[in-house]
């Protein structure tokens, strides 16, 4: 469906993308996971025919996105990272305008956006700029879907959206996948990567790992210790200096420490912080653990 081979892109001195390769199969929900500035947006723009890469090729359904950009534009739904609809037009006016410029009508492809549309209906006459973040994203998704594309490109659709709306949004993506639409989605939230069929972890313009979420986790070879206790900051600085500890990060109210299975973390910590009420637990690795470790390894 989509083949990205050896894409590189620089802005002056800055290398945004550095030899990116991946393939997306028909009907797949493919995630690009990476922090801000990793190059996700540049990659989306190149696939969406908005930018030209310095080198490399992208082909969509057998069509080159550089030479045959009109085909790509007709068959791809692109939702930019920033809300790009008209803020001063109402929900209805936006939908109708984008339907018209994509040579279709709202009615014609209503079945695709049926359930989103129902949620938007009470706000039909509200200006897009006055919608909540979640509603804005739903409207933007409707507009991206309006011409019945075979592939959706969603650049950070859930950034700045509340947790409930994020969940709803991913629910919609699952339904669209069932309709047979190929979806490429990027997100900075690592927990969302579990909802993808396959993910590519991207950082500094390069893909660090690419597999199914469970495949990536299974390859992780360190033991994860979840540490809780008073005075997290002192705990963390101490743990980072201990022998055998490879990495340690704060994870919400606890710390995750990575190392060999024979670390005896509990005993050693009690020695140093007798009053800190420390609890250590070995937990299965998560995709977030994997990604945090991949990122540091790359920086070293």
């Amino acid at each position: 469906m989509l083949t990205v081979s050896n894409i590189s892109k620089s802005y002056g001195e800055v290398r945004a993308l550095n030899g990116i390769n991946f393939e997306v199969d028909r009907g797949e929900l493919f995630g690009l996971i990476g922090p801000d500035g990793a190059g996700k947006t540049s990659l989306f723009r190149i696939i969406a025919t908005l930018l030209l890469p310095d080198s490399g090729d992208v082909s969509f359904d057998g069509h080159d996105v550089i030479t045959d950009y009109e085909f790509v534009r007709k068959n791809v739904g692109y939702m930019p990272g920033r809300f790009s609809l008209y803020q001063d037009l109402s929900v209805k006016e936006n939908l109708e305008f984008f339907a018209t410029i994509f040579n279709t009508t709202v009615q014609e492809n209503k079945h695709l956006i049926e359930d989103i549309f129902k949620q938007l209906e009470p706000f039909q006459n509200r200006r897009a700029g006055d919608l909540s973040g979640g509603m804005k994203q739903k409207l933007a998704l409707s507009c991206a879907l309006i011409h019945k594309p075979t592939m959706l490109l969603l650049d950070e659709p859930t950034t700045g959206v509340d947790a409930i709306s994020r969940k709803e949004f991913w629910g919609m993506l699952q339904r669209l996948k069932k309709e047979g639409i190929t979806i490429v989605v990027s997100t900075p939230y690592m927990d969302e990567s579990k909802l993808c069929d396959r993910v590519a972890l991207i950082q500094d313009g390069a893909i660090m790992d690419l597999d199914t979420p469970s495949g990536i986790v299974n390859r992780f070879d360190k033991t994860v210790y979840k540490v809780t206790g008073n005075n997290q900051y002192q705990l963390l600085s101490k743990i980072r200096t201990m022998d055998g500890v490879q990495n340690a990060y704060p994870f919400g109210s606890s710390l995750h420490v990575y190392g060999s299975p024979e670390l005896n973390l509990s005993g050693r910590l009690d020695e140093h912080f007798p009053d800190a009420d420390i609890q250590v637990e070995i937990i299965p690795a998560d995709i977030e653990d994997t990604f945090m470790n991949l990122m540091t390894r790359d920086h070293e």
Binding site: R45, P80, S84, Y86, I101, F102, N103
Partner: protein, 369 residues
């Protein structure tokens, strides 16, 4: 199929315009404010200019001449002094714009054939001072002729200056065409360039670009609404000019509208061209102000005559579309001439339109960079 896409685009554009009160203010508040401003405030007409007199002779002749001058609608007597230092004081207090000084024995000297009057004008505003002294001189000379004809009954030559096309030297007759030019330039070029730059800045362009929309549809869709609104604007200004200031349209009204249309197209294509070069609304605004508005006001011959500019500036002014439009519009409105007299200017504007449209289409990018 293309038709309804374009219609949807134009409709969307009108919605943007009518929902943004700032755009509306620029569109419709500006022309009215400008006409009123130029018509009333910035005027070079003389009316009740305050003058002072130092009459050393105080005889029948001098009193007659003074009353002759002050009975005209141009001048009003505001000060009467009897010493030279009082003149200075009067100027400094701003009581008068000019002084007439009559020497001793003015009447007798006049009988003998050589009398002189001194006119002292406040030249801190040199333009006005010039107009005042010219007007005073001409009144005095006319009175002098009349006197001579009474006493000597000799034949004399009456030089009478007539100002054609604007017989009363009404400045508003010159300002209305200028204001139409400025407004059309402003509305057309500035607002289109800003509105396209806004699509870029707000990210809307990203979606427009990935849509199957053709560049020509985007450009025409942007141009059409402003074309209509600019034409409405031109009509409003001509209407105000006609009703409030009695500015006539002596030539063909249809020709005038067609020429307006042509100039609007030039201005719009300049606006589109600017928007292809900038990324933000602010840049678009600055570019239109400095690259278009200032030259329109300063170099088009609207305020400063082109013939009195230094040569390099004259060359620049030849490249200014407004220069030609001002010539055209003055010719049609005031002289009432037809296309035969302004075909050269019309042709130049047409060529400029073709040039800038071509340039904008060439510069319109189908990608983000």
């Amino acid at each position: 199929m293309k038709g309804h896409v374009l219609r949807a685009f134009v409709k969307k554009e009108f919605l943007h315009i009518f929902r943004d009160y700032r755009t509306l203010m620029v569109l419709f508040g500006m022309p009215i404010a400008q006409v009123i401003l130029f018509g009333y405030a910035i005027t070079t007409e003389l009316r009740d200019v305050k003058i002072g007199v130092w009459d050393m002779s105080k005889d029948q002749k001098s009193i007659e001449l003074i009353s002759n001058i002050t009975s005209s609608e141009f001048f009003a007597l505001n000060d009467n002094v009897s010493a030279s230092h009082e003149i200075e004081a009067s100027f400094k207090k701003g009581r008068v714009k000019a002084f007439l000084v009559f020497p001793n024995d003015f009447g007798n000297k006049l009988e003998r054939g050589t009398a002189s009057i001194q006119i002292i004008a406040d030249a801190s505003d040199p333009n006005t001072a010039n107009i005042i002294t010219n007007q005073l001189t001409s009144i005095i000379q006319r009175w002098d002729m009349l006197e001579k004809s009474k006493t000597l009954r000799r034949a004399f030559i009456d030089t009478e200056v007539r100002m054609h096309y604007n017989p009363e030297s009404k400045s508003v007759l010159l300002f209305v065409p200028g204001v139409i030019t400025i407004i059309l330039m402003l509305v057309s070029a500035m607002l289109t360039s800003i509105s396209i730059a806004r699509e870029k800045e707000m990210g809307n362009m990203e979606i427009l670009l990935v849509s199957p929309l053709k560049p020509a549809v985007v450009i025409i869709g942007k141009i059409l609404p402003y074309l209509m609104l600019s034409l409405v604007n031109a009509l409003i200004i001509m209407g105000i000019g006609n009703v409030v200031f009695e500015v006539p349209v002596n030539g063909s009204f249809v020709l005038l509208l067609l020429e307006c249309l042509l100039f609007i197209v030039v201005a719009l294509s300049l606006g589109v061209f600017i928007s292809t070069k900038v990324e933000s609304q602010q840049m678009a605004l600055m570019m239109s102000l400095f690259a278009l508005m200032l030259p329109t006001i300063l170099l088009s011959g609207f305020i400063f005559p082109i013939s009195s500019m230094p040569l390099p500036l004259q060359w620049i002014s030849h490249a200014m579309p407004p220069k030609y439009f001002i010539i055209i519009i003055k010719a049609i409105m005031l002289k009432g001439v037809g296309i035969a007299h302004i075909w050269k200017e019309t042709l130049i504007l047409s060529l400029m339109a073709v040039f800038f449209i071509g340039l904008s289409v060439k510069n319109y990018k189908s990608r983000l960079e």
